[in-house]
Subunit: 427 residues, 4 copies
């Protein structure tokens, strides 16, 4: 079978897949007011007409609503996965069934097929790229540099991708403008605080069948994700302890009413531990050693290095699957340490994990959508390199959400603008 063919050519029962994929997308769309509103705007004005968009994303229902929105805006879209394991074939088929979209994403392909599919996307000669992790923009720069002159720009939404792009940019090796969607206020104020906070807690509860009330929950890291986890855990009647390396953040946590202590102390008192630092070795051997029997450890940060599982595995005298998604390590004194989802992001890797809530992705993808529109309309005004999302685009998405929810708010009167202006700019 041609592994670089559109998914519809590679599935049996295409219609059933399309129907099931469509059903999943419908649910997401029903709860994505921003993309719904942008879709209306885009269908009317077709701002992406004459553009070809190449995408490499996790092909599942929420992402698919973004893809379709861009297609509705007049673009020809070609898409593939950004990870061989994250594709939902039914959603991929439903996308491929759209007249303006070709989807090459298929679950479980090998490395060769993964890159063949990506090359198929690139072969459509995209004028705009949308990336999740940077694979697409990298491959274009490495293998198809001749296409770059026709590319007006691209977007990237993950920490990892932005990290790689920043390195390229610093070396002067990023040859077209890329928007850093990862660092916009509309992402970290909501996705991190509410999305990570809520989904981490719900997944921990549903994986363990344990409750939060009366638990001592140790939250490591008091950045946006940590604040979300701490606040939501307190909101479920947990007693929250915060560990943090930054003194000002530690003070913020203290003044919020949480107990702050080093992990060496927190390890002794916690019932549940949630890491959100983005760093490694937050919980290590010396901590496992002093933990109470039956503790639960989960990571809501980034990579699976926050809890040092290698050390835990060596330190333990026995280990086993205590229940689905829970690995239990028995220590020499008989006490047990339970690690959820192999220390990977618990809201993505837990047994019934659904990733971030729909509405939160609506906000992030809303920023993606207006960034793509911006590139189509004004891409030539941006230099090659990594760009912050212009603040007015970020605010436009906030405004779109408020409108869609029917929430009105005040606007400055002329007198008020003058008054503020007199303050800002001096008399």
């Amino acid at each position: 079978m041609d592994t670089a063919a559109p998914i519809s050519d590679r599935l049996d029962d295409v219609d059933e897949h399309v129907e099931e994929g469509r059903r999943k997308m419908d649910w997401a769309l029903e709860h994505m007011p921003i993309l719904t509103a942008l879709r209306e705007q885009f269908e009317a004005g077709e701002p992406l007409r004459d553009h070809r968009i190449g995408m490499a994303l996790h092909v599942e229902a929420k992402t698919a609503v973004l893809v379709e929105t861009l297609a509705e805006a007049g673009a020809e879209v070609a898409i593939t996965g950004c990870n061989p394991l994250s594709t939902h074939d039914d959603v991929s088929a439903a996308l491929d069934a759209h007249e303006n979209i070709t989807s090459y994403a298929k679950r479980g392909v090998d490395d060769e097929a993964y890159y063949e599919a990506m090359d198929a996307v690139i072969a459509t000669e995209p004028t705009i790229t949308v990336d999740d992790g940077g694979d697409l923009v990298f491959r274009i720069h490495q293998e198809y540099p001749e296409l770059i002159e026709d590319i007006v720009g691209g977007t990237e939404e993950t920490t990892t991708g932005v990290h790689r792009l920043r390195a390229m940019d610093q070396e002067g090796a990023l040859d077209y403008p890329m928007f850093n969607v990862n660092d916009t206020p509309m992402k970290h104020l909501f996705d991190n605080v509410h999305g990570t906070g809520e989904s981490a807690l719900a997944n921990i509860a549903m994986t363990t069948n344990l409750s939060w009330a009366g638990k001592t929950v140790v939250v490591s890291g008091y950045g946006y994700c940590g604040r979300g986890v701490a606040k939501k855990a307190a909101g479920q009647n947990a007693n929250v302890v915060v560990t943090e390396v930054d003194s000002r953040r530690a003070l913020e946590a203290h003044m919020e009413g949480y107990e702050v202590m080093p992990m060496d102390e927190a390890a002794k008192v916690g019932d549940v531990f949630v890491t959100t630092t983005g760093n490694r070795d937050v919980i290590t051997e010396k901590h496992f050693e002093v933990m109470q029997d039956g503790v639960v450890l989960a990571n809501a940060g980034h990579f699976d290095v926050e809890i040092n599982l290698e050390q835990l595995s060596e330190f333990a005298v026995d280990e086993r699957e205590a229940r689905e998604g829970v690995r239990e390590y028995e220590l020499h004194d008989g006490s047990r340490v339970n690690v959820l989802a192999e220390g990977r992001l618990v809201n993505l890797a837990a047994p019934n994990a659904l990733g971030h809530p729909v509405e939160v992705m609506d906000q992030s993808f809303g920023v993606q959508a207006v960034c793509v529109r911006e590139l189509a309309e004004r891409g030539d005004e941006y230099d090659a390199g990594l760009h912050s999302v212009p603040d007015e685009l970020d605010r436009e998405v906030a405004e779109t959400k408020l409108d869609a929810e029917g929430i009105e708010h005040d606007v400055l009167s002329t007198t008020q603008e003058e008054y503020m202006g007199s303050w800002r700019h001096g008399t």
Copy 2:
């Protein structure tokens, strides 16, 4: 196959089942400090020696820890299910592997086999019965009244069972003492507030992939369950609206900072609706008609009559499975109403539902365990009929939990007791 035989005689791969059942029970036991402590006490004193306990319960991991605890106390235990669909065969097998326990519970049996298994339990001539719904105590009264004189008493833990027992009691037809475990403070203060509150919200989130932040959540009923749902939803940054028929509770909700309004108004503004009234027809046709598009309806009360689904089904122009556990009804104006878990208890009936959290069941089952011990030790001091759990037993369980968690608290000094006494009893 003999449908009234112990489960071990009716399963292939008994050993595998036992191992898997044991694994599930171990997880529960690890997080049940009260039963763990009582088990130690019971193993030492064997307060149930010379007793035969007949049980009809949902045979799953948490219940099984209770069953095993009673067996460790020296009792001979025979158990069957209280519902043909709720038995986990692996847990049943693991129980049956215990030398003091015989389990007749098997999943998916028909009515005849269900009662054959119950009769097998009764045939052990229990001296104490433990019920969940009252089937066992009823059948003994109806079919085996000759056994009653040797029964010292029993316990019942559900609303339904207590309701039936109360009716019997009022007719003078309850011929041995039964403890009403359902109405103890240790149950409603924790199980309802924290257990229902947390598990309802987690199940709704995991079934819908939606978030709570910024949602208007309508909680119907401001009893213990409603308080739990309201508080925990607010703790996830929802805007909570309460509907309530009792004026004093309505005022309590208002003074807590929630908006209170009739369902006729709440129906227009809610995003998510959670019923906890224990009554019927809380949400009806006139409400569906004015709801926003895409609302989510769930029941965390009791039976599946709180949301009138018959009316909804008739009122809708179309309905379909929007996703697993979500039935979407399309109304004449195109708006959609989504009902979770067919309007049944969402924390039991949602796709990945696990029931109440382990710790909360530990508290309820702790009360069961001390009630059984009380019957063994002092059953003859109780008249036939329905009895409240003696307050000192309820408090003993609270004290046991605090001890197990290592939480110390103050005790009254003699001077303080005298001072309080002088207040209570007059000078």
Copy 3:
């Protein structure tokens, strides 16, 4: 001067006093929706016509609104203070200016004058008595038993008064019906939780100029008052520690997310201590000894015996007024313990204390008012002795408040009533 004369005869500048008292009463009335509504009802129906009401209360603005409400209902009212120090002469004068009211209350009178004024009230031969502490009902029983046969009943609203009445009742010495207003749900659910909670915290903050954020606040006692203080302190970002002698309440506090520990431990970690136990010797010498330097101690319970100030004074090497309302005790190690308001109720005795919030008194006085109406209308149906407030009267006040606030709520349909009934009463 005749110390038993109405206050108007004993003041210079009566008009100015009346005007100032009126101004204070107007503010209270403006924020007392329940009494406002009852007043309308009472003015229309004059349910108290032909009644003489004798009252002994703290004569200040909020109470005065109750007094006036009864007068508007057609009663002749005679009032005196229930404490020589709590009378506001201007409010007393404003009451006295009402054609149906005679006020004998004057601030700062001696014991003899206090009882002369009370006797003047009694001399009006009241048919209903309204008490705060029980002095009036006692004096009538002791000195004027011949008046009792014309008294239809009375109300009492304080713990102290109820305590004395209960003792009388148990001895068979209470010769007319008295309503125990102190123990109604409308009082403890709101007055204790919200009234005490908020006013204690505001007074502590305004007396010390300290903030709550990041403070460890030790709340002693987890009854209704303690819950209020704990919840409101957490809501100001304090870290709350609870001490409690009752194991079930201790567990409730733990499950709410607070740390629970004995005072011996809490004494070491607290920054601010608030006692709400109603008991004595909650904080004693062994606690002072281990406290941190600069701690703040306040009582929001009942009498000034919760903090053992005698021991503190002996234990201290020095003491002084650190600021108005704050007594600082220096201990042998140089550390300082600060006691607010001499250990008396901080929301009444702090320098700028205003007592309970207006709205909360509105609820308690609303119950008083409907109880007085009940006595006028149906007093003969009650036996002599202490009576709980009938639940329907308590609920009427809740309903009145909701109405006045424009808050509608659901009512049970006939079908729903039947459904609930079938549950309650058996099939």
Copy 4:
């Protein structure tokens, strides 16, 4: 009397004033752990030896602790008030009694005396200036430019002062380095959120005798102050409504669970209104017109222009002092609007107002103190003009507070630093 003489020469009973001032300062110092710690450090190292510090500040207890701390560091200090009405003469006298401090501040002086006192401070030829509002730095630039060459720098802590300095800086007219203490994280994260939030609410409660529970509280502006007020009001069981002109902040408030609406709507539903916008005309005639009877309006923002009192006064048919600190305006329909503290900052201008809590000023003044030390040690490294406080100084204060509170926190290991570094800087 020489109005430019030190206060000790202008008071009768100097000793009594000194003692009382000392008592006030002791209370503040006892609750200022940061300044206590810095004082120890400063006394040891005397970093300000050989410096003369000129200060113009509100001379009250909390400020005085800062002044004394600088003197303990070896500086000669001369101080005067920054507002003729804010000086506490007793505190001024207590400062003047310090051998290194001369205080010229006296309450209630006229304009001429105000400037004479300032000139007396300037006459000491300060090498460092500490300002609150900018009067000192302005006067030096205008009247004594010859002194500037010996001034190493200064600090300014208010919005107003920074505003004026920024204007000077932009015109190139600021001739020595000034630190903008107003905009440091240590100020806005704590002073605004916790300081303003808590003190505004406590002052409103104590001025009105009203409670928060069940109130609809409209918070205008969702910046740091608004967040504090909203969070703390919700923490007192108010139902919070937010008005905001910035769409992203409006969305943040919505996602936090608050209702967001324009003031035109909020005006109809609010019970209490708190403005925190820093703008003018937030509440105007059209809003007064639709408000409920008895609403309470307070300003916690900046100037007294947020509520348009001129319009209210014209619109009203009558106005009067409803109680101390409360002006009641009666409108044509008989409804009443109550404005607290004449629309000025309620936590400064309410009847018993104490300003910001002690601990919060400790944090702001801690930043002042380390900034002064920085100027003494490294002032020559800063150019003339307005400077942000270096982040390491701001963090030093956070660290000092944590140390003083005995709160330990984690530090990055070398491996962790490398890991983070690899992320930040690329591979």
